[in-house]
Amino acid sequence: MKPAETNRVSADEQAAQRFLEAERAERGGVATAAQSGHNDWAPLPRRSRPKQPSALLTIRKPIPRRTKLTLNILSFAVPLLVWILLSATEAVDPKMLPSPLAALSAGWDLAQSGKLFTDWWATVGRILYGFGLAVVVSVPIGMAMGTFAAGRAFFEPIMSLLRYLPPSALIPLMMIWLGVDEVLKIGVLFIGTVFYNTFMTADVVRSVPPQLVNVSYTLGARRNEVLRKVIVPHSLPGMIDAVRVNMAAAWNLVVVAEVIASTTGLGRGIVQAQRFNSVDEIFAMLFVIGVSGVLIDVALRLLRDRVGRWAA
C-alpha cells in the first residue's frame, strides 16, 4: 500500500490494522529460508559484443525496398546469366541445352502455329474442372469436419487413409475405370487434391476461436448465422491459402497425367517434343507452365490479401 493511502487509513485504524496484519501473514506464507553463499561467487564472465552484422543478414529484419527489388530481379537474372554463359560457350551440347534465344524462337513458333495456346488451354481447362470440382467437394466437407464433432468423426478416418494413396499409383486403376479421355485427367486431379484441400480447410475452420462462437450466440446468433457470419468470414483467407497450395499440386498432377495419357495439353506437348529431340520446345513449354503457375498464385494471393485485409 502506498504511504499516502496509509495516512488516510488511520481514520479507520481497525481495518488498516487487519489489512497490514494479513499482508504480513501473507508474506510469511511464501517466504523461503535465508540462504548464504551468493556473495563469494566470482562474477559471471562477459562475452565481448558481437560485431554488427550486415543489414542484409540480420535475423528477421526487413530490408529496404530497393534492395529487395534488386534481389528479386537477381533471382531471375543469375540463373539466366548462367544459362546464357553455358550455351554461349557451348560448355553444354546445344542439343541438350538450347540457348535462351533458341528457346524463345521455338516458343514463338509454337505460339504462331496456335499449338501453344491450344495445349495451354487444354491444360488450364482440366485444372478448372478437376481442381474446381475438388474445391467444390472439399470445402463443405472440410467445414463439416472443422465445425461438427460428428463431421470429423465420420470423415476423418477414411479421408486420412485415402490421403496417403499417391495419385500416380492410382492412375493405372483410373485408366481401367475411366478410360484415357478427359475424365481420366480430371479424375486424377480431383483425387490428387481433394483430400489435402479437405484437411487444410478443416484445420482453418477449427482455428476459429471458440470464444468468438460463444459470444456470437450471446448476441443472438443462431447456428446457421454463426456459420455464415462468423465461421465463414473468419476462415475465408485461410481457405484461399489452402487453395493456393493445392493449386500448385494441381499443376504438377495435370502435367503428369498428360504425359501418361493425352493427345493435348502442355504435358503432352513436352512428350511430343522429346520424340523429335526438340529441347528448345521443351524449354519453351516448361517456361509457360512456370509462368502460368506463378500468375495464378499471384492472383490468388491478391484475392487473399483483399479478403483477409483484417488479418494483416
Binding site: 494479513a22 506464507g29 460463444n214 459470444v215 450466440y217 450471446t218 448476441l219 462468423v230 488479418a311
Partner: protein
C-alpha cells in the same frame, strides 16, 4: 416484483476429469435484482468464470436452476450479453459493424440500427474510431467495443468476466468510470466477475465473495456507498474500510486452498 431478475438456485457444476471429478460450484444461491450491479470476487479457481458461463448458457449446471425474468436458462441468448476478458471482437468487422452484429440479426430497419449503433458508440466514446478495425485499437478501446456490442442487444443482464483484467491501471480506471456511467445511463443489470476487490467495491452495489474448493458463496455484501461515485471515493475511509474487509474475506478463502 417479488424476487430477482436473475435467480440462481442451488446451482452446482462438476467437471469430469481424469481420475475423478472437480466440484467447481457447489450449491450456489444468488439473486440479482433488476438494475443491480453485482460484482463477484474470489480466489483463482473458485468457479467465477464457470458461474458466468452457466448464466450465459454456454454450459449447463449439474444441479440446480437458473432463471432470467422467470424463464429457465437453457442456452445462450441475447438476453444475457457476455463480455469476455479479451479478444472477442470480430476482427474482419469495423468497430461500428461489430457493435451492429446483434442488431443485424433482428428485424430492425437500417435507420433504426444506425441510430442505436451511434448511441452506443457515443456512450462508449468510440465515435471517432467507428471505421477502425479491431487490430488497430488498444486493449481498452477493444473492450469498449465489446461492451457496446453486448449492450446494443439490450440484454436483461450484462455478464462481464474480468473485462478489465488485461488493462493497465490507468486505462482500467477510465473503464471503471465508463462502465458505471453506462450502467446508470442504460439502467441495465450487471453481473461482473473480477479478482480486483477495489474494482468490485467501486463498481458494485453488491459484492459477492466466492469460496473455493468447492465453489460456494462465502459472503454477500451490500456496498453502502453513494450512487454518485467518482475515482476520488477510492480514497475515502469508508471505501478503504470496506475494501479491507472484503480483501480479508477473499484472502481467507485463498489461504484455505493454497
Amino acid at each position: 416484483m417479488s424476487s430477482g431478475l436473475l435467480e440462481i438456485e442451488g446451482v452446482s457444476k462438476r467437471f469430469a476429469v481424469r481420475g475423478g471429478t472437480i466440484n467447481a460450484l457447489d450449491g450456489i444461491d444468488l439473486t440479482v435484482s433488476r438494475g443491480d450491479f453485482v460484482c463477484v470476487c474470489g480466489a483463482s479457481g473458485s468457479g467465477k468464470s464457470t458461474l458466468l458461463s452457466l448464466v450465459a448458457g454456454l454450459d449447463s449446471p449439474s444441479d440446480g436452476r437458473i432463471t432470467v425474468d422467470g424463464n429457465a436458462v437453457v442456452g445462450p441468448g441475447p438476453d444475457r450479453g457476455l463480455v469476455p476478458q479479451a479478444g472477442s471482437l470480430y476482427p474482419w468487422r469495423t468497430v461500428e459493424r461489430n457493435v451492429a452484429f446483434g442488431l443485424e440479426l433482428l428485424p430492425v430497419d437500417s435507420a433504426e440500427r444506425a441510430r442505436r449503433v451511434d448511441w452506443y458508440l457515443a456512450e462508449t466514446g468510440l465515435t471517432a474510431l467507428r471505421k477502425s478495425l479491431p487490430r488497430q485499437l488498444s486493449g481498452g478501446q477493444q473492450q469498449r467495443v465489446a461492451i457496446a456490442r453486448a449492450l446494443a442487444c439490450e440484454p436483461e443482464v450484462l455478464l462481464l468476466d474480468e473485462p478489465f483484467g488485461a488493462l493497465d491501471v490507468q486505462t482500467k480506471e477510465d473503464m471503471q468510470v465508463l462502465i458505471r456511467q453506462v450502467w446508470r445511463d442504460t439502467g441495465t443489470t450487471v453481473l461482473m466477475v473480477t479478482h480486483d476487490v477495489e474494482e468490485a467495491v467501486f463498481l458494485g452495489s453488491r459484492v459477492v465473495v466466492m469460496e473455493s474448493g468447492p465453489g460456494r458463496v462465502a459472503s454477500d455484501i451490500t456496498v453502502e456507498l453513494p450512487a454518485d461515485r467518482d475515482l476520488a471515493i477510492k480514497r475515502t475511509p469508508e471505501f478503504l474500510a470496506l475494501r479491507a474487509t472484503i480483501e480479508d474475506l477473499v484472502r481467507a478463502q485463498h489461504r484455505k486452498v493454497s
